[in-house]
């Protein structure tokens, strides 16, 4: 890892915290990543994260915090603070978050001949978030 930025930030009540931005040094990490890519489970998780990252990056950086606020799970009254959004990769569909169930429901509104893949569900859901963000941020 490489430290890109490192600074003290005022944490209130007379305290301070150290804020750092880190990034992976690809040249160093690449051998491990290449190895992980040959392992089916790791490759599948990586593929999922890759899709999520690309589609999330379509939302303007200044709006990305808003996107979290309009997410089906986070905007639900029954969602606790500090909850992570689980796209049903680790919990089964019965216990899936609102976000997952919303993404799955998109299938029922798809054109007749189209069966959405999991990647397509994810991309569509995130593009819906992008649209809601635009509506909120104007």
């Amino acid at each position: 890892m490489e430290v890109v930025n490192l600074a003290y930030q005022d944490a209130g009540t007379g305290g301070a915290r150290l804020a750092a931005s880190l990034r992976i040094l690809l040249k160093c990490a690449d051998p491990a990543l290449v190895f992980l890519a040959t392992m089916p489970d790791e490759a599948e998780v990586a593929r999922f994260l890759e899709q999520l990252a690309f589609v999330f990056a379509e939302i303007e950086p200044d709006d990305q915090d808003i996107a979290v606020g309009v997410d089906a799970t986070y905007s639900a009254p029954d969602t606790n603070i500090d909850r992570v959004i689980d796209f049903a990769e680790w919990r089964g569909p019965v216990h899936a978050d609102h976000s997952v169930r919303a993404a799955k429901r998109l299938q029922s509104y798809a054109p007749g001949a189209v069966t959405l893949s999991r990647a397509e569900e994810l991309v569509l859901y995130m593009r819906l978030m992008k649209r809601k963000v635009r509506a909120v941020s104007g």
Partner: protein
Amino acid sequence: MQSPVERYGGLTAEELRAFMATHPAFDDAGVTITARFGRAVARLLLRRLVASESFNFSIFLLSQSLAEDITGRNVAPARLLSNGNDPIGDAVWLVQAEIRNAYAVEDDLPDDAGAAFQRISDVGLGTHPAIVVDARSPDWAARLYPSGLDSAEFWIAIDLTAYPISKDHLRDTISRFWEQGLRTPELSRLSAQPVWENAADGIPNPRPEQRIQSRLRDTLFGAYPRRSIRAEIRTEEGRADIFIVGDITAHSGAPAQMTDWLLELKALCDRTNTGGHIGNQGARDAVTKGIVQARAYRSTQNGVQAALCCFEMRATEEDDAQCFAHVNDEATTNAIHLWRWVLYRSADDARMARYHLGRP
């Protein structure tokens, strides 16, 4: 009874329905970084084609760590490159997959392609996935090198046109996919989805067709950036393997989609993944079923062309004519192309077939 708002957290069913009613784009879902890069560069090339830019070569290199790659290099940022308003010719570009950030690395690219490739290798960028654009003819040619220019023998042609994909072009693309990723067990193992469990004994991994389909879809995404590549589409007849779909304008002027090609994939095995024997009748049945499926799926999707793509994993001396003899008439009647590629069980087998037996 719960309301839709409660069922979907902060979203209503009506919001979901309204969103889907606008036909949102999702044709890049599931695309690998390299194929995404190919599609983004292709979009840029089309904009520059419209602008009638004139040049010899241009090379785009995919960087997954731009900050690292530009450190210590003499680079010039080109943050608006993807808009298509800046010249792209006779330069080397380091870009992210979607070209949101771009840097010009070399602005005096040699006129000779070999020297240009060597320059990339010399500056330590030869393992970055690359797209080389040859603009010396009016209809530019572009190639995607997924393993970088140091592995210049591995490439696929990028089809920048919106014309129907020809049989020869598609077969050549799939042949390259096979040549570069399936022909030998060693090539297959480079993927996260190898097709062989134990190639020497002829034992496939579970669901070899799905593994091939997933990898082939990635290749087709890169090769045909103006098409949607859809897999496992449900039809009235079952699930079709791969559809290649193009955007068209309907008579009404509304955007529409038309299926260019239907590909039905079959992995012909003589062993199960648990080691059981299948026998040749199993492969014959699979080929017959493939023809029936291709015919049925195409009729429901109005596909223009169809091909049965067989990936031969058996230890067999059969040639294509023998393998397809029992379906040849039906395939001809229904204009279904019959294509076959052999997955050799060792590099030695592959060499023997190529140089001594005259097989593909």
